[in-house]
């Protein structure tokens, strides 16, 4: 494979004068399941293979993706990519350049304790069925229960014209569980995700029974929850919400491509924008976590990247192109969903560093506010406006957790909000998730419990 990819890269550099060329071949096998209540909607298997070719000609990117490993087809595709890049470069103002990186030759094998390929489809169905049966059996008011399961295994072969050559295994195990409840015309909905790059042993860490019960319990509790009255309130956020807050409110703005697009962080590098309590990392090195890998899709080794330290913006997440523009080092954040798309800057595992408060201390300082424990969706905007939807929340009255509230969300401006973080807990949790930025990336985020002096809370009451 290395020889084939190197040969294709050489066509780009020698025949078309490309300054840079990379080829990424992938072979993947997927197993998928969807169970609705006690019905297996379908047991699914997928096989895909293909090559992504990326070239830099006249300072402009050309990219071609084909679902084939055939040399003649690849030769045609790389020629296409080079010709198209040349054509597109006719309007170029600032040629794209890449930062230098280490030339790497490596072979990375995944070492699951339980290889998903060794678990039979029957066993996977059994596990998924246990989740659904537990959920449905939790309470008569649970009306629907869905589990989507995916395992993805394969190998990515990378070679570029700098001389790097990497063969890297990919392994993802993922499940999403959603349940709904209905009582006297009130509908509720609850969901959880599970994800790992370690192996099928993720189901030994959380049992299928616990998963089913957790989702069902929340849906039932929400039946008694009230809509809240929107406004500005002090809040305590759980690790699950903190993770999404870090990801949406700060993480996206610290993606160097978005920072260059006018995002509010580009002008704030090295400046203090948040409270002393705020330290965030984006870390691709946590073994087994959903955002972990050794090399990114530009062949750059992953790392633990400091984004903000004690409130001071410390760094951005880079690919080779943005690193060159910022005169920085690439951070290993260039990821492509598969061979159909080009690598772009994506987060890995993004989290807040814990400090020393206990949960009780955080709550007892709130007179009238909310405890938001679990999220449902979130979104960032370049102007620093973030939104995080809440699927599980409670009132806080005089320092005590009170009645559940339903379907709220929090929003604010990043630069204002990071200054209002006034308590950071000593606990720590990470949750797997997926992030959409044109492509889907498997990521992870989390942190401790925190308190924020005031934040906008949306509710319809």
């Amino acid at each position: 494979m290395k020889d084939l990819l190197t040969k294709i890269n050489r066509i780009a550099t020698q025949k078309f004068g490309a300054q840079y060329a990379e080829a990424r071949a992938q072979k993947m096998v997927k197993t998928m399941l969807t169970l609705k209540e006690e019905r297996v909607e379908a047991a699914k298997q997928g096989i895909e293979s293909g090559v992504a070719l990326r070239v830099l000609v006249n300072g402009t990117w050309g990219f071609a993706s084909v679902g084939s490993l055939d040399q003649t087809i690849l030769e045609g595709a790389v020629s296409d990519a080079c010709k198209m890049a040349k054509m597109a470069s006719s309007h170029l103002k600032k040629p794209i350049k890449l930062s230098d990186t280490k030339v790497v030759t490596d072979r990375v094998r995944s070492k699951p304790k339980k290889n998903p390929a060794d678990i039979s489809m029957e066993d996977k169905i059994k596990t998924a069925m246990t989740v659904n049966k537990t959920g449905l059996g939790y309470d008569k008011r649970i009306k629907s229960f869905t589990i989507d399961y995916l395992d993805l295994m394969g190998t990515s072969y990378f070679a570029n014209s700098d001389g790097s050559s990497i063969e890297q295994d990919k392994l993802y195990v993922w499940a999403r569980i959603a349940g709904s409840a209905l009582n006297e015309g009130i509908f509720t909905f609850s969901r959880e995700e599970l994800g790992s790059t370690a192996g099928y042993e993720v189901f030994d860490e959380v049992s299928p029974e616990d998963l089913g019960e957790k989702v069902a319990k929340r849906a039932i509790e929400q039946l008694g929850a009230k809509s809240l009255k929107g406004g500005t309130f002090p809040v305590v956020l759980g690790p699950n919400v903190v993770g999404v807050f870090v990801h949406e409110a700060f993480g996206h703005l610290a993606e160097a491509d978005l920072a260059l697009s006018g995002g509010v962080l580009a002008d704030n590098l090295g400046k203090k924008i948040g409270s002393d309590l705020v330290t965030f990392y984006d870390d691709g090195t946590i073994v087994g976590s959903f955002g972990a890998f050794k090399y990114d899709d530009e062949g750059v080794q992953t790392q633990k990247t400091l984004l903000i330290k004690d409130g001071v913006v410390a760094g951005l997440m880079h690919n080779r192109e943005t690193a060159q523009k910022f005169n920085a080092q690439p951070t290993g954040n260039a990821r492509a969903e598969d061979f159909r798309v080009e690598p772009i800057i994506r987060m890995r595992c993004t989290y807040m560093e814990p400090r020393d408060h206990s949960f009780e201390e955080l709550v007892e300082n709130v007179k009238q506010g909310f405890y938001f424990k679990s999220f449902r969706g979130g979104q960032a905007n370049l102007d620093g406006t973030f939104q995080v939807g809440i699927q599980e929340g409670y009132e806080i009255v005089n320092g005590e957790i009170g009645a559940p509230v339903r379907d709220a969300s929090i929003s604010g401006n990043t630069l204002e909000t990071l200054n209002k973080v006034n308590g950071v807990g000593k606990d720590f949790l990470l949750d797997p998730g997926r992030c959409g930025k044109g492509q889907t990336a498997f990521i992870c985020d989390g942190g401790p419990h925190i308190s924020i002096k005031e934040i906008m809370v949306g509710g319809s009451a």
């Binding site: 297996v40 298997q45 679902g67 890049a85 159909r340 319809s460």
Partner: protein, 454 residues
């Protein structure tokens, strides 16, 4: 452009079905997909990339003992790979559990010819021509004001074809084209940055106006530079198509899917024939809408597309069915089996979700709004509760309307409510219809939505 011929795709689909039956499937369905796309990309204010993606594949559903198995591959020119994928689908079915509600794949059908879904000019577009269009759009955006910065966008053309065949006699082929140009901009002045403002044109035929797209996106960003706050209260909203598309996709559309209804996940269960919305609202799902972005001859199972009345003057008329959910109720599929290419099994989805236009022009809608907000883009619509229809989102940005005129822009305004209340509170429906993804809709004015200002 070399594309797979109709006969080649149909032969592959039909042969796969007969092979699967020979290997022991009691029923089988094969779906063959081809997509070829060319994109010219804009990043950081300049044309910076050119992409070409060719994706082909085959997805097979087989039934064995009333249990469903599915497998796909993107290696379709190798008979051994095709045989392997049939075996995988069969072993998946054998590992699976029988479904007592399974009543068979849909049967033999005849198809209408959809109008304006294929344009030779789009299929044959050269990348050089696309570069010119992208440059025109970029220039138009740049000329509006120095403070506007086009951050990303581009133009893409695609040819898509699919063939589906099954053991109950279905055999269909359809092809189409799509072209889309879009640009996202922000305006910047001092330390003030606007939210991302986006415009686009998408069409099945070569009808895009890059100058309009560039100018509109830039004008929107510019108008969002200066902001003032709005007060917290319940108020009137004008929802543009951007906001409607986002909001409905995560709320109303779930409620009209027959599987949601059958699984007690829809507030519309048992409400056929009842009033569920303002009598100003009429919605149909129209899979044959001429030139519709989701217009095809048939759905993901080979069932003909059709026009289905969903809500008529506020009265709920029908849900959207695929063949499985329809057979469960002894009904006919409405041709709403969606499919993510060859990678997935079919699941219920809208085709073109068409909110029928009213008679108010955009200007009339504005002038008939005494006090309210004009909402373009929403942030966080996907965090809505898909079952209860409750939403709590941010308008990024919103424009304040006072006495029929837009007075100023406001950022970070939160909107909260329940989609089923919103439907009842629709007060005006515009005549300014526009297609956006699965939605075809005019602007809608709705009363009494909770707004949380800073």
């Amino acid at each position: 452009m070399a594309v797979l011929k109709k006969e080649v795709m149909l032969d592959l689909a039909e042969n796969t079905v007969s092979q699967a039956l020979k290997k022991g499937a009691s029923e089988a369905e094969a779906y063959v997909y081809e997509g070829q796309a060319t994109n010219i990309g804009i990043e950081l204010g300049q044309i910076s990339k050119a992409n070409r993606i060719i994706d082909r594949g085959l997805g097979i559903r087989v039934v064995a003992e009333k249990a469903m198995g599915f497998a796909y591959t993107n290696v379709i020119n190798d008979p051994t790979a095709v045989e392997d994928v049939i075996s995988r689908a069969l072993s998946a079915a054998r590992a699976s559990k029988p479904d007592p509600d399974w009543k068979g794949l849909p049967g033999n059908e005849t198809y209408a010819s959809p109008e304006k879904t294929f344009d030779e000019r789009v299929a044959e577009l050269e990348s050089g021509e696309l570069v010119k269009v992208a440059a025109t759009m970029l220039e138009a955006a740049g000329q509006v004001d120095k403070r506007v910065f086009p951050i990303e966008g581009g133009i893409g053309s695609a040819y898509i074809s699919n063939a589906v065949a099954n053991s109950s006699g279905i055999s269909g082929f359809d092809k189409g084209t799509v072209i889309e140009c879009s640009i996202a901009t922000v305006a910047k002045e001092g330390i003030s940055v606007t939210p991302v403002c986006f415009e686009f044109n998408a069409s099945r035929s070569y009808e895009v106006d890059p100058v309009w797209v560039g100018k509109e996106a830039a004008k929107l960003a510019l108008s969002a530079l200066e902001t003032k706050s709005v007060e917290t209260k319940s108020t009137t909203l004008i929802l543009t198509q951007f906001a409607l598309q986002d909001l409905l996709a995560y709320t109303l559309i779930n409620a009209v899917r027959a599987d949601s209804v059958q699984r007690n996940q829809s507030a519309f269960k048992g409400k056929i024939g009842e009033k569920v919305a303002s009598d100003k609202l009429t919605v149909c799902d129209d899979g044959l809408f001429a030139g519709g972005l989701r217009t095809w001859a048939f759905d993901g199972e080979g069932v003909p597309h059709q026009k289905t009345a969903v809500i008529e003057k506020g009265i709920l008329r029908s849900f959207l069915y695929d063949s499985y959910s329809a057979k469960k109720e002894g009904k006919q599929s409405t041709g709403n089996a969606g499919r993510a290419g060859y990678l997935s099994t079919p699941s219920i989805d809208t085709t073109n979700f068409h909110i029928l236009p009213g008679d108010k022009t955009a200007n009339e809608m504005l002038s008939e709004t005494d006090d309210g907000l004009m909402v373009y883009y929403l942030q966080g619509a996907h965090s809505s509760n898909p079952v209860s229809g409750e939403f709590s989102v941010v308008a990024t940005p919103a424009w304040k309307i006072k006495k029929g005129e837009i007075t100023h822009c406001s950022r970070g305004v939160m909107l909260a409510g329940n989609i089923f209340e919103v439907l009842k509170n629709i007060s005006l429906v515009g005549s300014n219809e526009r297609q956006m993804g699965q939605l075809i809709s005019p602007w809608i004015q709705v009363e009494n939505v909770r707004v949380i200002g800073k």
